[in-house]
């Protein structure tokens, strides 16, 4: 059974900023256009995710489906009610991340970016190719200040 939680709904709608995101009338165009739904309809259905988000079902944050959207925006571009599914899934993922519910691979990437500034490390092989091509090289420590902007200062 899914518990409708008006408080969670409020959190969600506040995080999303605009209530316009709740205009879904469940026509199913998003699912029909979704390449992931097309492959694994039982595991990922944007229409159902919208419905649960819309109701304020908190269990949604634990749903593995949350991590299957590629953010290709086919749904957004085809929605007759201008519902931005990607914004909604991003918000849901943010909430899941805050509660430690994100998959490790996602956490790893986030940490790579926030610690080193880049998703991918610079390997010696590539450094060599770049040198051969005469391209400038930026090392991981060469982006000063980036971590400072992420510090949350209180007061």
């Amino acid at each position: 059974m899914l518990k409708i939680n008006p408080e969670f709904r409020k959190t969600l709608s506040q995080a999303l900023g605009e209530e316009v995101l709740f205009l879904c009338y469940q026509c199913g165009k998003c699912s029909a256009h979704c390449p992931v739904f097309h492959r694994v309809p039982d595991r990922f259905n944007p229409r159902k995710i919208l419905e649960m988000a819309y109701l304020g079902v908190e269990q949604l944050l634990e749903d593995p489906a949350l991590w299957l959207c590629t953010t290709c925006y086919e749904c957004v571009e085809n929605c007759p009610q201008t519902v931005n599914f990607v914004d909604i899934i991003v918000t849901l993922r943010n909430l899941a991340m805050d509660r430690g519910l994100a998959p490790k691979s996602v956490l790893d990437e986030y940490q790579a970016v926030t610690n080193k500034g880049f998703v991918y490390p610079l390997t010696g092989r590539i450094r060599k190719v770049k040198e051969e091509l005469g391209l400038s090289i930026t090392g991981d420590g060469d982006s000063p200040s980036f971590q400072q902007v992420l510090e949350v200062r209180h007061g």
Partner: protein, 837 residues
């Protein structure tokens, strides 16, 4: 006038033209129209027969007119749709060609044939041929008739003082007609006065209604009769006599509505206007904007009036204007009007009887109408939405849609039309009052079809109202009178649960509980849903089958304010058209009496629902007809033991001729159905329009009323070898001719006894009641009749013929009916029909 001195050779040789209409593919799709026309050419008296794509088109009518001139036609048969649709069209066409309109006849090969036998072209074509033959035989007996004109009184009555009634009254009054506006309650205003805001504009309901109420109250052409009820109506189109019971108010027109009396009154009771959520005194005004702005005393609550002795005079003491009158008496008013608009409105579904969703058990489950009063500034909570259990502001509110609507189980199958938008509006109202309230709407479909509706629906979503597709299964009360709602979200296919602090049941609209009184008084038909039936759902949506009576507002079906007002204006216009003409032609269907045959028994006078036959036992003279009173049902004609009554346009000969036609070939494989013009024939038409398929064995003969069906008609059909006979009419109580179908019922009961006594299986003769809305039921009955038909053996048919030959005498009229096509019926054997007086 019927004057067949020499039957068999009518006064003029019949020259009949037959026109078989294709109606595009509506008929031609399942009937071979060409072969039907070819067949018609072989029928006696037929001079010309054609098939044509659209007979009702201008060229079609032109063709008909030209033929009348070219071939000197004196009878015309059009085989096309129902005469209820195009008979007036073709009557006008033949008239323009110089033929009396009563010499026109229609064979209904669309509603009664092609549309109900879509997949059996062969059988449908054979049936169409039979129907054409019946019409040709009948046409032979048609005679020119002259319609009488009756004057129309130029006053109107509007029954019901809701927004529809008010609008209709104002429109008629502004046109210049005097209007009596009758309202049962102490004030006009109706349901709209109870509502807080209106959708989709969110206008304040009473703010836009009150000026109209006031205008109706002071209009010089409107006589307002509040606290009054229609008791009886007699008469007919243009000339109705209405009896109105005006109940005592006990407060005179001197009342200034200061309210001092009410403050002084010691007696309290629940206030009806606030649906019992607040109280009122024994002397009260229903709501501040009431019209008339005049207090009223509830005689059952008032200490003095209920005891019949002066025990309390607080109000009299308080009233400076001396406007209180304990001696006020009930009045019966007799009012003559030309037209009547029925705007009696609706009731709301009461969830108390089934305790729907715990209504009546849990204090915080309320109805949408109760909500209107709770959110209204003039309501019991001064417009602050609070929940009943603890008067706290609810933080979570759930609406449940379709309570009492769209449910076969609860008896209201229909959609109540307004509840979706009403909930959308109510949800927005709550957000307006308490922006932090979380609102959930459990629905099955949101129907936001009207102008501006979708925008309001969208706005509610923008405001954060949550719509859950699925109706709850149950509600439990948890602590603090909060409510736990269980439902399936049908979009997820999962069960969801929500805790809410207030639940509002979006209750549907139902026909008024006291609707039967008006329905019986005016002999109006009802739809299956119980609302008043319009004359035609598309083309005459505000007319009723009763001339001079029109419908407006929710009496006709659930609708919103805008539609009610629109319909009211339409009804006013329709009534105005009649009154502006000043007179109306009445179909020439009244009877004539053949005095030579009349035994002056008085049976006709006894069975007439209108007391139209003047006859006295003492005189022993043939009765005299009051033309203006007679409505032409033909019950007298059926009952007359001497066959001395000739029904104009529906004479016995014409009906026997139709029976002859349909029994000429394979009668044992056919069912004859007599249908009355107003209900069962219209029901059969509806089966056609709805494309409800039934077996092709049935042949329908139309009479104005089932009361016209003479016992001899049935016996004659049996004597001709028919397999089974159905006599059908309006439901008892719904008869268009007040009580004429009571005679049908009695007659059929006598007939069954007689059949049994003769040794004829009475199951072969059935009686059925079908309203104009019961197409499906009509079709089902035909299927049942065909099952009966299958049990009838050729031996049984022969036996029946023998029995009747011995025990029953063929009426003279039956012999006359087809003498013209039957050389074997020697003219000299057939008695001449004496001339009618």
């Amino acid at each position: 006038m019927p004057n067949l001195k020499n039957p068999g050779t009518p006064k003029e040789e019949p020259r009949i033209g037959v026109y078989v209409c294709h109606c595009g593919l509506n008929i031609a799709g399942s009937v071979d129209c060409e072969s039907v026309a070819e067949f018609a050419k072989t029928l006696p008296g037929v001079v010309i027969a054609r098939d044509y794509r659209y007979m009702c088109s201008d060229p079609g009518q032109e063709l008909l007119k030209q033929d009348i001139k070219e071939y000197r036609l004196n009878r015309v048969v059009v085989a096309s749709c129902s005469p209820r649709l195009h008979e007036p069209t073709f009557r006008r066409a033949v008239m323009e060609a110089g033929l009396n309109p009563y010499l026109f006849e229609m064979a209904n090969i669309r509603e009664h044939c092609s549309w109900v036998h879509l997949y059996d072209r062969e059988a449908a074509t054979e049936k169409a041929k039979d129907l054409v033959k019946m019409s040709v035989y009948r046409a032979y007996h048609l005679e020119p008739q002259i319609e009488i004109k009756v004057p129309i009184q130029q006053t109107a009555m509007v029954i019901g003082g809701g927004v529809a009634g008010i609008q209709a009254a104002l429109d008629l009054a502004d046109t210049g007609y005097h209007v009596y506006l009758v309202e049962k309650e102490p004030s006009i205003g109706g349901r709209m006065a109870q509502i807080d805001k209106t959708f989709p504009t969110m206008d304040c309901s009473i703010c836009i209604l009150a000026p109209k109420m006031a205008e109706a109250g002071r209009h010089p052409n409107i006589t307002l009769l509040t606290n009054a009820e229609v008791e009886n109506i007699s008469g007919y189109i243009g000339n109705f006599n209405v009896q109105v019971r005006k109940k005592p108010r006990y407060v005179t027109a001197d009342c200034t509505a200061c309210g001092d009396c009410s403050k002084a009154c010691p007696q309290t009771a629940p206030n009806e206007f606030d649906v019992g959520l607040a109280t009122r005194k024994a002397i009260y005004i229903p709501f501040p904007q009431a019209v008339p702005a005049q207090y009223i005393i509830d005689p059952e609550l008032c200490l003095t009036l209920s005891k019949g002795a002066i025990v309390c005079e607080e109000c009299i003491k308080a009233c400076e204007k001396k406007a209180i009158d304990f001696t006020d008496q009930e009045e019966i008013l007799n009012i003559e009007v030309g037209t009547i608009i029925v705007a009696t409105g609706m009731d709301v579904y009461d969830p108390l009887k089934n305790h729907d969703y715990g209504y009546g058990l849990f204090p915080n489950v309320i109805t949408s109408l109760e909500f209107e009063r709770l959110i209204n500034a003039a309501g019991p909570s001064k417009g602050h939405l609070i929940r009943p259990s603890d008067r706290k502001i609810p933080k979570t509110v759930a609406f449940i849609q379709c309570v009492g609507s769209r449910s076969v189980r609860d008896g209201n199958e229909y959609c109540s039309n307004i509840c979706c938008m009403n909930t959308v509006k109510d949800a927005l109202l709550i957000r307006e009052h308490w922006p932090d309230t979380q609102i959930f709407v459990f629905y099955q479909d949101i129907r936001a079809f009207g102008k501006g509706f979708e925008a309001l629906y969208r706005r509610s979503k923008e405001e954060g109202v949550v719509y859950i597709r699925g109706l709850p299964s149950r509600i439990e009360e948890i602590g603090d009178h909060n409510l736990r709602i269980y439902a399936e979200d049908t979009l997820l296919g999962k069960e969801v649960v929500l805790d809410a602090e207030l639940v509002i049941l979006s209750v549907g609209l139902i026909p008024r509980k006291d609707r039967d009184a008006i329905q019986k008084i005016l002999a109006l038909s009802l739809t299956e849903d119980g609302f008043f039936l319009e004359a035609h759902p598309k083309l005459r949506p505000v007319d009723t089958a009763v001339g001079g009576v029109f419908l407006a507002g929710c009496a006709e079906g659930p609708k919103d304010i805008k539609d009610s007002v629109t319909q009211a204006s339409a009804a006013a216009a329709r009534a105005g058209i009649l009154m502006a003409k000043g007179e109306v032609a009445v179909e020439a269907l009244t009877p004539q009496i053949v005095e030579d045959l009349c035994k002056a028994c008085g049976l006709c006078a006894k069975v007439c629902p209108y007391n139209a036959w003047m006859w006295s036992k003492e005189d022993r003279k043939p009765p005299v007809l009051i033309e203006a009173s007679c409505q032409g049902c033909g019950t007298c004609g059926a009952e007359c033991p001497s066959d001395a009554i000739v029904m104009r346009h529906f004479p016995d000969e014409a009906i026997y001729a139709e029976i002859d036609a349909l029994t000429e070939e394979n009668p044992e494989r056919k069912v004859l159905a007599f249908c009355c013009n107003w209900c069962s024939y219209a029901g059969a038409d509806l089966a056609g329009v709805s494309r409800i398929q039934y077996p092709p064995e049935v042949r329908i003969i139309r009479t104005m009323c089932s009361g016209r069906v003479d016992m001899d008609f049935v016996l004659y059909a049996l004597s001709r070898g028919i397999g089974a006979v159905l006599v059908s009419g309006c439901h008892i109580g719904d008869c268009h001719y007040i009580t004429a179908n009571h005679q049908t019922k009695k007659r059929m009961e006598r007939l069954w006894v007689r059949l049994e006594r003769m040794g004829i299986r009475k199951e072969r003769v059935q009686l059925g009641w079908f309203s104009a809305a019961e197409g499906a039921q009509f079709a089902a009955k035909i299927r049942e009749m065909v099952e009966i038909l299958k049990t009838v053996t050729p031996e049984e048919i022969e036996k029946t013929k023998e029995i009747l030959a011995k025990q029953w005498k063929v009426p003279q009229a039956a012999l006359r009916a087809t003498a013209f096509v039957r050389p074997e019926r020697r003219m000299d054997e057939v008695a001449t029909r004496p001339s009618a007086s």
